[in-house]
Structure formats: C-alpha cells, structure tokens
C-alpha cells in the first residue's frame, strides 16, 4: 500500500513514526523503551531504523516485563526524561496496570512529582487477533484519575496527538488502532504541528443525530452517515480524539443542536466510555433531548478469534444505520 502511494502521503503508522522521530530530534529527553523496538523496529515496525539513528540508549530494548518497563519509565520521567513506552500489543498493558494506576496516575496528586510519560498501546480488533491481541483497554484507564488518554482516528491526528502527548507533563496513554495502521493515508503538513489534547473534532456536520465516537469507529460512523444522507438523515459525527480530559463542550454543543445522540465504540458496552458520555448528556442536556441516548458497542465478551465470531462481535455500519433510523423516528 505504502509503495503505491504518492510520496507525500503517509499511513497512520508512518504518521506515528514521524511523530516519534521528530520529537526525538527536537528534544534529547525523549527516548523510547519497549520489547523488540531496537534492531527489529517493533512488532509493527514503527521504530524501524530508530536505533541506528538515536543509539541504543534512546531506543531501548527491554526484557519482557511490562510492569518493570512502565515503572522504569516513571522513574526516568521524574528525572526530567520523556519516555515513550511501546506496549507490543495494548492487551499486555494489564501486566503494567498497577504501575500505571497506582504510581504514574497518583504521583502528582500525592506529592507533586510530574510524570511526563507516554505509553503507546496498539489496540483494537478487526485484525483476527483473538482475545489477547485485539483488546480495547481504554475503559479501565478512563476510570483512573491522573491519566490522560488519546485515541487518534486519522494519520493527521495520529501524528499531532502523539507529539502533544510527548510534550504533555502527565502520563498519557496513546491508543493507536492497529486496524488503521496501513489502511489510512494522508498528506501531512510539512511543518511541526500538534493536535491539542482535550479537543474533539466534528468530523461531519449534520443536523439530525450526533454520533459520538473515537478510533476506528469514526470511519464506521462516517460510512453510515453517507448511507443515511441518502435517506435524508444527517448525522453529525464527533470524533473525541482525546478520551481524558473529555471535550464536554463539543459533545454538548453537538447534542444540543441535534437533540439526539448515539454513542459508538468498539470496546465492550458495559462500563465503556459511551456510558460516561451518555450519562453526561443525560445529566447536562436532558432538556434538549428528543429521544433516548443509544449506545452501539461490542457485547460484553472477550474479542473472539474466528472471523465469523469477530464480525458478529464488532459494531457494524448497519448497527449505526439501524440506530439512527430508530432515533430519527422520534
């Protein structure tokens, strides 16, 4: 795919590489840690060639020990470094859960020590990875005060949010969607830019129903919007981009306009981020709601491996279309 693209187009994956490369060039305190990120360039080859360029100590292959890796990143961050940790798959972040939630997240609150650290977590399904290579772990960290969470849906945001995350003075988990790695391409600005943390984006303006979503599901929502437009139903698609802190202003503005809302995510439904946004909307925009707040999400099961099962499991364009039609009838 990449080879066929005109030279100025980059994939979502390359956008991530670019962000890392540029930030490492810009700032000596930025360094990378993770399993197999050195000579091998990482499981997804995002850091290919980096060790040659930046040396063994700034592109550090670690033992197989996620808790130890994250703990070390925290220590280095407190000393003024800006570590970027790669989880080989987001799924393995469970092994570092304690360090993230108890140490990184609570440090500044407890005793004022900033932890400027980024954890890159390649997440999400649709890649036939099964229960342990497809997880969406963002829901857990969404409920852990002290962390920032971002989840870009485009190459532009992938680059801009990663740069913003690296420059942020707090622990940021960067959820990069594996399904999008090589499926999206875009021309990116030549000059340095960031996508500010905490700002959602209205990806498509529409008057009828707000679809609030993030990650790979943004594209599902846009597809559904195209289909529905033919029926005269205009979806407004809000891409959260940042999950914590939530851009409530943009969410509320959209729902106040459309009076109807659908939450869409790939993560399991119960206790997912859609629940929080639905709750916020039910709390803050009740007076302007013209219909129930619907949620589309994966069912409450692990991510199944088999193609037939995973297809059933993942939210589909049809789900969005059906929900929108139902809401439009209100």
């Amino acid at each position: 795919m990449t080879t066929a693209a005109p030279p100025h187009e980059v994939t979502y994956l390359e956008a991530i590489s670019q962000a890392l490369d540029e930030e490492m060039s810009r700032d000596d305190s930025v360094f990378l840690m993770g399993e197999d990120i050195g000579p091998y360039g990482g499981a997804f080859r995002i850091t290919e060639g980096f060790q040659k360029k930046y040396g063994e100590w700034r592109v550090l292959d670690t033992p197989l020990a996620e808790s130890g890796i994250v703990g070390a990143a925290i220590g280095a961050a407190m000393m003024g470094m800006r570590p970027v940790v790669e989880m080989q798959f987001a799924d393995f972040i469970s092994c570092a859960f304690d360090q993230i939630t108890e140490v990184a997240a609570k440090n500044h609150y407890r005793w004022g020590a900033a932890v400027p650290m980024v954890i890159r977590a390649p997440f999400g399904g649709g890649v036939h990875g099964g229960p342990f290579h497809s997880e969406c772990p963002e829901g857990w960290f969404f409920h852990s005060p002290g962390l920032k969470l971002v989840a870009p849906s485009t190459p532009y945001d992938a680059k801009g949010l990663l740069k913003a995350a690296i420059r942020d003075n707090n622990p940021v988990i960067y959820f990069e969607h594996k399904f999008l790695y090589r499926r999206l391409k875009a021309v990116l600005p030549a000059e340095d830019y960031i996508v500010p943390i905490g700002k959602a984006e209205v990806k498509r303006i529409g008057r009828d129903i707000s679809v609030i979503t993030y990650g790979a599901m943004v594209h599902l929502a846009l597809e559904a919007a195209d289909l529905l437009a033919k029926e005269g139903i205009e979806l407004e698609v809000v891409d959260l981009r940042t999950l914590i802190p939530l851009d409530k202003q943009t969410i509320f503005a959209s729902v106040r306009k459309t009076s109807k809302a659908i939450m869409l995510h790939e993560d399991n439904k119960t206790g997912g981020i859609g629940a929080e946004i639905a709750a916020l909307v039910a709390e803050e925009c009740f007076d302007c709601l013209d219909g129930p707040i619907l949620r589309i999400a994966a069912p409450d099961t692990p991510v199944p491996f088999s193609t037939t099962l995973e297809e059933f499991f993942l939210p589909k364009v049809g789900d969005v279309v059906a929900a929108a039609r139902k809401l439009a009838a209100y």
Partner: protein, 333 residues
C-alpha cells in the same frame, strides 16, 4: 511410561513413541505454516521447529492424571495429551471443532478433560496458575503433579518470580520447564538477563535446578521423570532449563534476520529429530525403514486432520455471545 534414570532404561516402545510425536509435531507445524503461507490462517503461527524434543520429552513423562500447562512452543505436549492434529488445525482455522470453538486462535487452547491448561498470551501468567493446580493436589493429598513451561523471555516477568517462590515455599508438586531458545522474539538472551544460564534463577527460590540438552528428547524425558518423581514424593518443585535454539522466526511472518545465520547452521546439526534417529539407530531400536513408516503414518494423520478441519463448520456469529460465564451445574459445589 516407566521410570528411567538414563536413556538405556527407556523402553524401546516409549522411545519410538516419542520419535513418532517428534515427527507428528514437525509435520503438523510444517503443514500449518504452509496453510499460513497460503493465507488460509488468520493470526499468528508460532512453531516449535527445532525444539520439539522439549514438549515431547516432558509430556511423555507426565502421568495420565497429571496436568500440563504448556506455553506457545509446546505443540508436542498438546498432541501427546490427545488433542488431535485435526483439532489443532481447526483451531488455527477458527473452526467450531477446535478446542476453543473458534473463540481463540493458534496454540491458545486447553482442555481440562485431557489435562491441559489453556495457554494465555500474556507470558508467564500460567505459571502462578500451575502452582495453584499443584496446590489443589497438595491440599487434597493427591499424588498428582503439574508440569509447565516458559520461554527464556517469560522468566523476566514478575509472575514467573511469584510462582517460583510460592511453589518453593509450599513445596508444591510442580515442575517448571524453561525453553531457553536464546531469543525472545528479537531480543537475545544477554538483553533479557545478565546471567548465562537461566537455571541460576532457581537458586533465588531455594529450588533445585538442572540444565538439559533440549534437543535430546531422551534427556528431557529422563530429567522430567526425575523431577516429577520428586514432586510426587512431596519433595517440591524443580526448575529445568532446556538449552535449545529457535530455528524459525518468532512467528511465521518474521524472517528473523537478527539471528546470525551461523548460529542456525550450527544448531541445524543438532536437530532433535536427527538426534532421536541417531539414538534409535545406535540403540538398535530402529532403522531407516521404521523412520519411513513413521513418516508415512504421520503424513496420513496430518492429511486426515486437514480434511477434518476443512470440513468442519465455522461457528455462527451469535455463538460469540456464549460462554462468558459458567453455568450453575457445570461444576458441582
């Protein structure tokens, strides 16, 4: 199989059976790799190519009522416990007839009825689980044991430490194997640990440890038997490091350019199947004709397995919703 102190004590039939499983493992994984290259298999394919003797050796030493908790390069152990090539291929293809009914892929499979704890991707997670299996045996005063395995990389995880320590403190009937194949994905041993022999880790727990030639199925078998005997006698856990080499890439998509070719050449000569054949010939237990028969038998079994798997149905979408919870009548309280 019966107790053996050296290879000479192992019965011919037992050695031949191990040889058969070496071949079956090799052939099955080669076939799966071929299917992968044809784009027929989703997800990863991790093989035990060149390391088959470890799983075959330890699983052959395990008793019928014992339990194994294999890791991702232990295909031989799955087979010895009775998971058929057909089921394995069905698992790879996501068919309903695989041990996980399509819920999980590749070697992430288990079956308590056949005494196999399902492998979890998160490396070393099954080591504490194995100690718990052993704990149940100890509490109930059963003379059963559990044998588990991990890679060199897996020993870096905290769960390895917590499991080894608990097993040692409580003298649990568990045998910890370690497949030291020099690499964890692309990471060479010296970036994984500052020791040359993983077995040194056993000392930290007051646990006996030993090093074994992981490419010699008889040696693995004898060491496993010895450790299992200790465990069964109530003398606690043992750690066994099997020196070997990963001959393929980490998974079949990985060309493993980071591995020096000479290293592979050198280890190629120590191939466990070759070694087993030399041994069988030397002991006068078999000759080229026997090997050929085994090869044929294995070939047929694999083909039958492929056919079984291909003809098996895919699960229906809504089956994705089944099985999150166990039913009330599934285990008697």
């Amino acid at each position: 199989m019966e107790a053996a102190e050296t290879v000479k004590d192992i019965k011919r039939a037992d050695l031949l059976q191990m040889y058969y499983y070496l071949r079956l493992t090799r052939a099955l994984e080669d076939r799966v790799t071929a299917l992968y290259r044809q784009g027929r298999i989703m997800g990863g394919v991790y093989t035990s190519n060149g390391m088959e003797a470890i799983a075959v050796g330890y699983a052959s030493a395990v008793g019928r009522n014992d339990i194994i908790a294999p890791y991702h390069r232990d295909m031989g152990a799955f087979l010895i416990r009775g998971i058929t090539p057909g089921e394995v291929i069905a698992q790879y293809l996501g068919k309903r007839t695989g041990p996980t009914k399509g819920k999980d892929g590749n070697v992430h499979m288990g079956d308590l009825k056949r005494g196999v704890i399902g492998f979890v991707s998160h490396l070393a997670d099954n080591l504490p689980v194995a100690t718990g299996v052993a704990l149940a045996f100890k509490i109930r005063r059963e003379s059963r044991v559990v044998v588990t395995n991990t890679g060199d990389g897996g020993t870096s995880r905290g769960d390895f430490h917590e499991a080894m320590n608990f097993a040692a403190v409580r003298k649990l009937p568990v045998v910890f194997f370690c497949n030291n194949n020099q690499y964890a994905y692309s990471t060479p041993l010296h970036l994984q640990m500052a020791i040359r022999d993983v077995v040194d880790r056993a000392k930290a727990y007051g646990m006996p440890g030993e090093i074994v030639d992981g490419n010699d199925v008889a040696a693995v078998y004898v060491a496993a038997q010895r450790a299992i005997r200790r465990a069964r006698a109530g003398d606690g856990p043992t750690f066994i490091e099997c020196k070997t080499m990963r001959m393929h890439g980490h998974s079949e998509h990985d060309s493993a350019k980071y591995v020096p070719r000479e290293l592979l050449e050198e280890w190629k000569k120590k191939d466990p199947i070759l070694k087993a054949e030399q041994m069988l010939i030397q002991l006068g237990y078999a000759d080229a004709g026997v090997f050929h028969e085994v090869e044929e038998r294995v070939r047929k079994e694999i083909e039958a397995g492929v056919e079984f798997a291909e003809q098996s149905p895919m699960p229906e979408g809504p089956e994705a919703l089944e099985g999150v919870f166990a039913n009330d009548d599934e285990v008697k309280p």
